[in-house]
């Protein structure tokens, strides 16, 4: 970074910048944002990202419906959210400007591809007049660049056709933004050469466009707008920039290695969970079997069949898929077999908002099966936490022989953050033993195997087919404890229903006690679960910095709860629960602990911002 060092006299340093790249779905904004993020990560900033894209693969070009955006927050200190209002908007067309202008901070910098602001595009975006000329952008810092034509211009010299050249305009934008915000060029150049290997013209076009963007910054005398964000002082270690779905996939592989059992994923493609199927299907050398089933029901059925055979059966989906899998999950509860069920939540009901985030499947995870069918539930709090939560889910599943639900969401799935890589030696040790011996004696005095005899954890033996002498039958019909024989007797069912409930509650014995963050002696506790962690942590930090006393607790385990949750709730006058639903955890807490918890709800398909949380917490505690 000698280049940057030489120019410090003209580059203003700031603690953080929030940039939002927005354009048409076909403009490559996700890629541009991703590249900017990677360069920032390698530079050493802390960061958090929020990709947002429409459900349509290609909505009509130039329309508001087709706007795809990527927000990245880079910082010289530890941050937990993609930021509140962006300081910079890159608008590749009028629709992007129209869709995003309300989201950015007053006086923000707006970087515009002026070539796209012609009559047809303006009309498609619903502008009567050109916003670049009618005062719409008064008060903003406007940086206008004819990105399309300049890209075509530099590409002409290297023999790229104008139509193809136009596709490189996002690299012009990336080059310009990288220059403005002092990002190193090298990682992007390496990436371009790697990604487009063998397609020399594409490499040349993208490199030329990037450098043209850079040069435009230099020549257009935009130096006054230049900013730099120093590397963050993060704990020492090796870092990588990771999204939630990748971290979850790796966590499952790690758990499989730790416990010494192969993974089997049965899955049906669904947004925003498909990337776990894609990721795991790449790792066959770890003994991972992935099966793209004919439907959601077959996906979970195949996973359960694999679990029966001694694999770690996994199924991945989003809310609509969980609804379809419900009956099989009930079977898994009855069979008492390990199974990992992953719900990457999205806005519902029905098809709802496939690409937008929500966390409204908690009640479905808790109660979405017929009969009393309790299932442990865990929820990651950040993209990298998905790794740890995957391992924890496998631990519970194999130790207690139970299906376990992981509730992630679209925001964690696609959002990224720097992750300090764990040492493989420090990962939790997991182990499991399959049954190998008979464990009962029948009426005639013969040694037999009974599938529902329990150990100290109230878990039944996992006796996999192929094991000598342990032939047995299991099924979804009510059975007698111990022998596993079909039993419809009234007392037996009463006993089994209570036993299944108790054995899941017993898992709490192995859940570490919750820690109170912030001011333990405060009147107000902010209690969260899932992906709200980032925004809550940031909001609590701001409030405390401003002198307010406030405490924070975040739940990973939603069922059963950590053993000291009730005690903690009793210590606070106000319990406030920000949730991306209408109050599902709040209701569970009220029911379980008779506590007057208040919800702060958000169901717009967008994650909370720290700023809005501060305001709403202050309002709730006034």
């Amino acid at each position: 970074m000698t280049d940057t060092a030489d120019r410090t006299d003209e580059i203003r340093e700031v603690e953080r910048i929030i940039i939002r790249f927005a354009g048409d779905s076909g403009d490559g904004m996700q890629l541009t944002g991703d590249r900017f993020t990677s360069a920032s990560a390698l530079f050493g900033n802390d960061l958090a990202t929020l990709p947002e894209f429409p459900a349509e693969i290609r909505a009509p070009a130039g329309t508001l419906a087709g706007v795809s955006a990527f927000q990245v927050h880079i910082s010289d200190h530890d941050i937990t959210t993609p930021g509140d209002a962006p300081n910079v908007l890159v608008a590749m067309n009028p629709a992007a400007l129209k869709a995003e202008l309300d989201t950015i901070e007053p006086g923000a910098t707006v970087i515009i591809n002026t070539d796209a602001f012609e009559d047809r595009n303006l009309a498609k975006a619903g502008y009567d007049a050109n916003p670049l000329e009618d005062g719409t952008l008064d008060g903003y810092t406007k940086i206008e660049a004819p990105m399309t034509s300049l890209t075509k211009e530099v590409c002409k010299d290297i023999g790229v056709k104008p139509r193809d050249a136009e596709r490189s305009k996002n690299f012009f934008a990336l080059g310009l933004v990288s220059w403005l915000y002092s990002r190193p060029e090298e990682p992007t150049m390496i990436w371009i050469r790697e990604k487009f290997k063998g397609r020399d013209l594409v490499i040349a076009a993208n490199e030329a466009a990037y450098r043209a963007g850079n040069a435009f910054g230099e020549t257009a005398e935009l130096s006054a707008s230049r900013l730099a964000v120093r590397p963050a002082k993060l704990p020492g270690g090796t870092y990588t920039n990771i999204n939630g779905n990748t971290a979850l996939s790796w966590g499952l592989i790690a758990a499989s290695q730790q416990v010494g059992l192969p993974l089997f994923l049965g899955s049906y493609p669904i947004t925003p969970a498909s990337d776990i199927l894609h990721e795991l299907s790449k790792h066959k050398k770890f003994g991972v079997r992935t099966f793209q089933a004919e439907d959601e029901i077959a996906a979970v059925g195949s996973a359960l069949g694999a679990s029966y055979g001694g694999h770690i059966g996994i199924t991945t989906t989003s809310g609509p898929g969980i609804a379809l899998k419900g009956e099989t999950l009930g079977l898994a509860v009855s069979l008492e077999l390990p199974l990992i069920v992953i719900d990457i939540q999205r806005g519902g009901p029905s098809t709802g908002l496939p690409t937008k985030t929500e966390a409204a499947d908690l009640m479905m995870a808790m109660y979405g099966r017929h009969g009393e069918a309790p299932m442990p539930i865990v929820a990651p709090s950040s993209p990298s936490d998905c790794f740890d939560v995957a391992i924890e889910a496998v631990r519970i599943a194999v130790q207690y022989r139970t299906p376990v639900m992981i509730l992630s969401d679209g925001y964690l799935a696609n959002g990224t953050e720097p992750w300090r890589l764990p040492s493989v030696d420090d990962l939790p040790g997991l182990s499991v033993e399959f049954a190998s011996q008979t464990n009962g004696v029948d009426d005639e005095g013969r040694e037999v195997f009974w599938p529902y005899v329990r150990n100290d954890d109230m878990a039944r033996p996992w006796a996999i087919p192929g094991t000598d002498g342990l032939m047995h039958r299991i099924g979804g019909i009510e059975k007698q404890d111990g022998t596993g024989n079909i039993n419809y007797a009234p007392d037996n069912h009463e006993f089994m229903v209570r036993l299944r409930d108790e054995r899941i509650r017993k898992i709490a014995e192995t859940i570490p006690p919750l820690e109170i963050k912030g001011d333990a002696d405060a009147d107000t506790l902010i209690l969260g679960w899932g992906s709200t962690w980032g925004a809550i942590t940031s909001a609590v930090g701001r409030m405390r910095a401003a002198g307010d006393k406030v405490a924070q607790v975040h739940l990973t385990h939603l069922h059963p709860f950590a053993p000291n949750l009730g005690e903690i709730l009793g210590q606070f006058e106000n319990v406030i629960v920000p949730e991306m639903n209408l109050g599902q955890l709040t209701n569970l807490l009220r029911a379980e602990f008779l506590v007057d918890a208040q919800v702060i709800s958000k169901v717009s398909g967008q994650p909370f911002t720290a700023g809005e949380l501060v305001a709403r917490i202050q309002e709730a505690t006034r």
Binding site: T238, Y239, G313, H472, R473
Partner: protein, 336 residues
Amino acid sequence: MTAVPLTTKKDWTSDQEVRWCPGCGDYSILTAVQLLMPEIERRREDTVFISGIGCAARFPYYMNTYGMHSIHGRSPAIATGLAMARPDLDVWVVGGDGDMLSIGGNHLIHALRRNVNLTILLFNNQIYGLTKGQYSPTSEVGKVTKSTPMGSLDYPFNPISLALGAEATFVARTHDMDRGHMQEVFRRAHAHKGAALVEVYQNCNVFNDGAFGALTKRDSRDAMLIDLKHGEPVRFGVEQERGVIITDNGAEIVNVADVGEDKIHVHDENADRGVAFALSRLAKDRVSPTPMGVFSAIDRQEYGDAASAQLAAAQEANGPGDLNALLHSLPTWDVS
């Protein structure tokens, strides 16, 4: 693989009391399977029966093997996962026409087209038994049942045609009145590498008694059952006086004397599936001569083996997975 000990029917019989209605066709199918198992040289420990819901689905409880009585229609999906995860096992799927053709129809056709190594026994009694007598997806049009007092409107599936259409690699039919035939067909199905579907005409003596009586009664079999034998002319009748020819319009029953012996179709299990399909369309109802035996048996890559081969190839090319390398597989940077 552990050596296979000698066993008898008793060794394959569980300690559970069989609870089908007295006179149910399921009894003879169970006996046929239990008698066959000692002969097929697999250990009880390596054998798994998976079923869904319905009368037929109680089957696993009566076999002294590993077994799962799962949920309605899903047995082919569960068995697919098990067979993929554990190619060393001998996995059987048992269910009725409601279980496998109605609620589980989707799983059945996909298991067939993928060619997962499963032996699938479809007990077809053309009625819903366990829910007490509603029409099924194989019931004839106009069937009067509790749910169809004025007669059913649904046109039935032909399970053999369906399986062939679903790209099954082994498709056969047998019936519950002929243990020897059942055993031979089950033996062939079991020996087939891939998904093998056997439709078993099975009598429900409570809700649909005699559905196949015109075909399967001992004294009518010669005239009504067309035994398909690989490499032999397709002939039937007390005097083998009738036969099947294949024309542009499909399969057709003729008097051998009218067309000459050399015109009679010679059955080829491995041949073009169009002929197998034509044979599956031969009987238009349950009172017409009906083919029995193996309609089609072709070789195609088995799914679980192919999936395992991909794992082996990935390990061969890249070595076994290294978790530390995986964690460092995206761009990384160091903070000191």
